[in-house]
């Protein structure tokens, strides 16, 4: 069997990973259709992609990439250094619509040395540069096919774009002239099923072979009990937190934020909202990362302590605030539980369910909120705590200097230590309520092999997938 149907919850709006934030785009195209200079592996490591190798100058500002030979785009044109320069320049440009433009902010210039060599000069050293180049937003595209990239993506990956039945499915086909090993699959169909019930039904009825990121954790025991299916539980980069508006009274008082942290029973949230799937976190960092520090004890569930802290802060009667909840069920369900837990210590949080567009507008941009629940899925994004204008409005000089030092540091041990300091800083400042690391819950038919268990980035790497004999 060489075809597979993979379901996912959201449909990509279009197929250009370099001009939208939608993760669904990456799920379909990342490493399948488009590739970057470097790429993520399932375990989160960054390995060479279209760049076979690279050299980094002494001061860490010049990267010279050696490109693979014989790489062609699906329209048979050759991928060379010009394409790399084009792609990076396009992402950095004035009128670029790249959702992660910050990834390219440090690039000063891109030079074509020869058809297979590109030299990228940074304005200052950046320890994350290779990691940044592995993002879906940094894939290499070709000027010839850029005009229709949104509906007819042409990349260098192992699969070519086949067909898109809007609202229903996208089909990819094997690219015979792929530079690397030929994948086991001939065709792959991505099906979009947003409704959790429908997801369950589709899986049960065996309409689909794999469900990437199954939306209803409550159904997993049934799949586990069913010999037809396998359940893959892994981790994502999603730190799920109770974001707190640090500038809005009473949350500008650290005692109130600490009270909040002690009022929450993480395990209850994980059990109730995620049916047990998820790892408790005590700071904004992924537990599977070697640099992770377990700080959950710092904000252990202790309603009495919380009440005491509130009284200290002058809120013995509690107070009222809002809790904005975006659509995903971790937020909606988690929100109900947290609201109930907060109510126990006297905080009356009015639940306001919002759509993403509203969330972006009023919470993220307008900063008009008290509390909100959200999973921060970008990998290694602790840097947001150094941005005082970020929506939770944490303005700490310590954090900002720490991050600056970190960015300029390339030594792994030193970086690890700095990351640990940063984690401790935000945990003891109780910037946000830290809940759990979102689990990646995959369901597949028995016999499907090579699925990513973890999700360092939103990707469904078809090249690794195959059917057992």
């Amino acid at each position: 069997k060489s075809d597979i149907t993979i379901a996912m919850q959201l449909e990509p709006p279009h197929l250009d990973p370099t001009s939208a934030a939608a993760q669904a785009i990456d799920s379909v195209v990342y490493t399948n259709i488009f590739e970057g200079l470097t790429r993520f592996m399932g375990d989160g490591s960054v390995v060479p992609g279209l760049a076979e190798s690279w050299e980094i100058s002494e001061d860490g500002t010049v990267y010279t990439f050696k490109l693979r030979e014989g790489v062609t785009f699906h329209d048979a044109t050759v991928m060379d250094a010009e394409d790399v320069k084009f792609s990076l320049d396009r992402a950095m440009a004035e009128d670029s619509a790249n959702a992660q433009k910050a990834l390219f902010a440090g690039i000063e210039s891109v030079e074509v040395v020869d058809p297979l060599t590109v030299k990228v000069t940074l304005s200052e050293p950046n320890g994350n540069f290779l990691f940044n180049m592995a993002w879906g937003d940094a894939v290499i595209v070709a000027p010839e096919s850029i005009d229709n990239i949104k509906t007819n993506p042409v990349g260098t990956g192992a699969f070519t774009f086949g067909d898109w039945v809007q609202g229903d499915s996208i089909t990819l086909n094997r690219y015979p002239s792929y530079w690397g090993d030929q994948p086991a699959l001939e065709t792959a169909t991505f099906k979009f099923i947003s409704d959790p019930t429908a997801a369950f039904a589709a899986m049960m009825a065996e309409d689909v072979d794999v469900f990437d990121n199954f939306p209803a954790p409550e159904n997993l025991p049934q799949f586990e009990a069913d010999p037809r299916f396998q359940v893959l539980v892994g981790s994502t980069e999603g730190e799920t937190i109770l974001s707190t508006n640090n500038k809005k009274p009473p949350f500008d008082d650290i005692r109130v934020r600490q009270a909040l942290a002690h009022a929450i029973d993480r395990q209850a949230v994980i059990d109730g909202a995620m049916f047990g799937y998820g790892t408790p976190i005590g700071t904004h960092f992924a537990p599977h990362n070697p640099a992770y520090v377990d700080l959950t004890g710092n904000s252990a569930h202790d309603p009495e302590e919380a009440a005491k802290l509130l009284a200290d802060a002058g809120y013995e009667e509690g107070f009222e605030t809002t809790l904005h909840l975006p659509p995903p069920s971790y937020a909606r369900r988690g929100g109900e539980i947290i609201a109930a837990q907060l109510a126990d210590v006297g905080i009356k949080a009015e639940i306001i369910n919002v759509e993403w567009a509203q969330w972006l507008e009023s919470v993220f941009k307008g900063k008009d909120y008290g509390l909100t629940i959200i999973s921060h899925t970008e990998p290694m994004d602790i840097g947001i705590y150094a941005r005082p204008d970020y929506y939770f409005q944490y303005d700490s000089l310590d954090a900002q200097t720490l991050m600056e030092t970190l960015n300029a540091t390339t030594d792994p041990d030193e970086r690890k230590k700095l990351l640990g300091d940063m984690q401790r800083l935000i945990a003891t400042d109780y910037v946000n309520g830290y809940l759990f690391q979102l689990a990646k819950l995959g369901v597949a038919k028995v016999g499907v092999q090579g699925l990513w268990e973890n999700a360092p980035t939103a990707a469904i790497d078809l090249t690794q997938i195959s059917w057992a004999e």
Binding site: T197, E218, N219, G272, R332, I337, A340, E355
Partner: protein, 271 residues
């Protein structure tokens, strides 16, 4: 009194009773979570079992009845309060531009896809019971306007209206004194039907997450929450589903029964 009327009245008042009762007593706090005891099937402690957060379903159904009734009732109220005067006016000014404007306006509202507009309204103003009421209420206006106008038009042809006009009464006065009381029956019957539709609409909106917001329970949201759990905790979907069915059924039967009961032909025969 027909069987329909009695059955309908019994079912409806059962639901109403549960709703009223919930203000003073529920077996448990409807909002109290008890996650270790989640998803219990109906048993002696929890008559309707517990939901995915361990909340008592019986208490939630009682309080949910309150939500459903409140939303549907106010929505019908809006529809009547605006629709009936519009219908009376249109009938009183039959054939004038005012009549034309009112009726075309009605057609236009009818032409809008109601659910889409309801979703839009909640997108604009945020999800919540009040906005659900408005969204449902708007589409009740033309229903009542049309019914009122239709009935009023035939009343305006009646000789007793002519007699009132001979007595020098103006259109507004006649509408209030003679037309309104005579269309009241019809409005009551239609009211119960719209009420039951309102309950379904509220459930539908809550089902897509646009009705009353948690922790206020609502039958539609209970159903939505239950969706993924039907296969292993069917009571989660069955109970609110049956609650909706019983209520709507009760109201429909009540409406049907009232229609027969209030039918003038039968009334005269009884007198």
């Amino acid at each position: 009194m027909s069987r329909n009327l009695i059955l309908g009245a019994v079912l409806s008042s059962l639901v109403l009773l549960a709703a009223l009762m919930s203000f003073v007593w529920t077996p448990y706090d409807y909002a109290a979570l008890d996650i270790p005891n989640k998803l219990q099937p109906p048993n002696a402690q929890h008559w309707f079992g517990t939901d995915h957060f361990g909340r008592d379903m019986f208490s939630m159904i009682m309080v949910g009845a309150r939500t459903s009734i409140a939303v549907a009732l106010v929505a019908v109220g809006i529809g009547m309060a605006l629709g009936v005067p519009l219908g009376l006016t249109a009938a009183a000014r039959k054939g004038s531009w005012l009549d034309e404007v009112i009726m075309r306006g009605n057609d236009l509202v009818f032409a809008f896809p109601s659910l889409v507009i309801a979703i839009l309204i909640t997108a604009v103003f945020g999800a919540g019971a009040i906005n659900a009421i408005i969204a449902i209420g708007i589409f009740n206006i033309p229903v009542f306007a049309r019914i009122t106008r239709g009935a009023a038009l035939s009343l305006w042809e009646r000789e007793f209206i002519l007699a009132a006009r001979v007595s020098g009464k103006g259109a507004a006065r006649i509408s209030a004194e003679h037309i309104l009381p005579n269309v009241a029956n019809l409005l009551i019957v239609q009211g119960t039907i719209q009420f039951s539709l309102g309950i379904l609409a509220e459930a539908g909106l809550s089902y897509v997450g646009l009705g009353a917001q948690p922790p206020t329970p609502s039958w539609g949201r209970m159903l939505a929450d239950a969706q993924t759990m039907v296969s292993f905790a069917p009571h989660l979907a069955l109970i609110p589903g049956l609650a909706i069915i019983v209520t709507v059924l009760g109201l429909n039967l009540l409406g049907d029964g009232l229609r027969d009961w209030l039918d003038p032909r039968i009334r005269v025969a009884r007198a």
